[in-house]
Structures are given as structure tokens and as C-alpha cells.
């Protein structure tokens, strides 16, 4: 049970951290966000934003499944109620409200996933993809500028929240 937290990272007191977790610098964890490393460690990069009720779980799917570390890149945003079991996530992604990423899915860079989309086991999501319901699931490839856009919107929000959250919430030291 080790917990490593980088510089300038804000973790609210009511968020739940369990197991071997490494969090980079400049991250923000909203109240009631959860990170649970049951079967293997979780490594989170710099500048990530975890909103309320969102869960990152490293858990084996069955008895045959081997344990592996879960790696999350830099500048990702996980919105309200999202559930992430995927082991590899790249940089600058936006995961929408109540989205589920199953174990075995792989995400690359600059991806936007719209609310309530379910990314299944074995799906490899390519760079600059947009996934949304219309009402059936539609997958589009966007341009490279989407990656910069995602990164900007996340870092701007983190800058605001760093000043605002400590005023009204208890912060874990």
C-alpha cells in the first residue's frame, strides 16, 4: 500500500484512494472520486482531472486474467460518473459523463467519448476519434487539432479549480 502524489496536486478529503497508486503533478480530484487498485498498481500522469463520482478500477475480469499495471497518460479529463477499467489510456482525452471503458479496451491520444457510450473489451480506439450516439453508435475520425483543444480545455479548468476547491472543501495533505 503505497501512495505517491506529485507537486501541486489537489485531492479532496472525501475522495477514496485504495492500493498502490502513483499520481503525477498538477492533478485535481473532485470530492467523491474513487481510485481503486485491487489487482495491480495504477499510475496516473500529469494534469489529469477526475470529476465527482468517477471511478478508476484495476480489477481482474475472471480467474484466468493476469494482473497488470494500469497506465494513464497526461491531460485527461474524466467527467461525472465515468467508470474506467481500461489498462492503457494515452494523452489528452475527454471521457464523457457516465461513460464505461471495459477492461481490455485501449485508448490512444486526443479522443473524445460522448456521454453514456460503452467501449467494449478488445476495442482499440485510434488517435483523434470521436464516439457518440445518433442514436446508434457512430465513430468519426477528427483532425489533429482536437488533441490541442482537449489539452487546453482541461488545463484551463484545472487552473480555476486549484483556487476554488480549497476554499470550500477539506484538502488531503
Amino acid at each position: 500500500m503505497t501512495l505517491k502524489i506529485g507537486q501541486n496536486t489537489i485531492i479532496c478529503d472525501s475522495s477514496e484512494l485504495e492500493g498502490d497508486i502513483t499520481i503525477g503533478s498538477n492533478c485535481v480530484l473532485h470530492p467523491f472520486s474513487r481510485i481503486i487498485a485491487k489487482d495491480g498498481p495504477i499510475v496516473i500522469g500529469d494534469g489529469n482531472l477526475l470529476e465527482a463520482n468517477c471511478v478508476l478500477i484495476n480489477e481482474k475480469k475472471g480467474t484466468r486474467d493476469s494482473s497488470a499495471p494500469m497506465r494513464i497518460g497526461n491531460y485527461n479529463r474524466f467527467e461525472i460518473g465515468s467508470e474506467v477499467r481500461s489498462l492503457t489510456i494515452g494523452n489528452c482525452n475527454v471521457i464523457g459523463i457516465k461513460t464505461k471503458l471495459e477492461r481490455g479496451s485501449v485508448l490512444k491520444d486526443g479522443i473524445v467519448i460522448a456521454p453514456t457510450v460503452n467501449v467494449k473489451d478488445g476495442v482499440q480506439v485510434q488517435n483523434y476519434t470521436v464516439m457518440f450516439h445518433k442514436p446508434e453508435l457512430i465513430v468519426n475520425i477528427s483532425s489533429e487539432s482536437q488533441k490541442e483543444e482537449n489539452k487546453l480545455s482541461t488545463t484551463e479548468q484545472i487552473d480555476f479549480l486549484k483556487n476554488m476547491l480549497p476554499k470550500y472543501n477539506n484538502i488531503r495533505n
Binding site: 465527482a52 457516465k98 460522448a114 484551463e156 487552473d159
Partner: protein, 181 residues
Amino acid sequence: MEIETKTFDPNQYLVTKPGNKISNKSILRGSQRIILSGKSIIKENTMIRGDLATTSFGKFCIIEKDCVIKPPYRRFQNQVVFYQLSIGNFNIIGENSVISSASIGNFVEIGKNCIIERGCILKDCCKILDGTILPAETVVAPYQIYGGKPGKLIGSLPESRLEYFQDYCIELYNSFIPKKK
């Protein structure tokens, strides 16, 4: 109109002087900036984020379980600003919904499992069906029904909706009473 009465444990709920019934298990962050006008019900596990910006509620707002109510944000000049969320009188918000709209009018019904993204504006007397996702900055006109993924115009409501829904909200509030020992 008859609605069956629902009882609650008086130890689990807080009844304030203006008539708000608030569950002990609800999560109210930044309670200095949450304004309840009175006669509202807030049920278990509902989260209201007053720490980001002021959120105000009118009278007879009924908020069911497991909702998240979070003020919207806007980006300009390389900055993010969270701004006020205002909810009017006589509204029902269903279970498990996520509300991040800019304003909600009066007599609005929002179903279960809805997602209303940032900056939406819901005018008076509209209805959002169960499981709807309204994309960011949608405007819903008065007396309209929206549904689907993404939310689209499905139909319209009769003019009698206003009086009917007002009575319905008052009935719902009055039928939610503490259990007698």
C-alpha cells in the same frame, strides 16, 4: 388527483423552518452558496456543488435520489469561469440525472437517467423524457417534449399543463410525510 403517501424516517431527514425536507445522506458542498427558497425535497445521495458557483432553487422543487447538480462553465480569453445555476419553482428532477444547465424555468419535469450538459436553457412547462441526453447549450422552448440520444423535439404539451403540474408538485410535497411512531 390522488397520490399515495410516502413516509420517511424523521431521524434521516432534516425539516427546516421554510419547509425544506433534506436527507442527511445528501451531499451539499459549499452550503453557503446553495439557496433553497422553501418547500423543496432533496433525497438521498444527491450531490449539489455549491462550491463551484451559486445554485438557487425556487419553491416546490423535488429532487430524487442519486442526482448530481453542478453549475455550468464557460471558456473565454484562455480562462474557465463557472457561473450561476438557477432553478425556478415547481420542478421535478428524476433519479440518477446529471444537471449542469444554465437555467431551468418553472413547471419543468426531467425524467430518470437524464444528462443535461453545460449551458442548456430549459424554458417554462417543458418535459424531458427518461434517458435523454441534451448536448451542450441546447435551448428547449416552452411546452415542448424532448427525448432520445441526442435530445430532439418529439411533441408538445397542452396549455392545461401548467395548472395540472402545479397541483401535482404540491400534492407530491404534501404526501411526503414523516413516519409516526
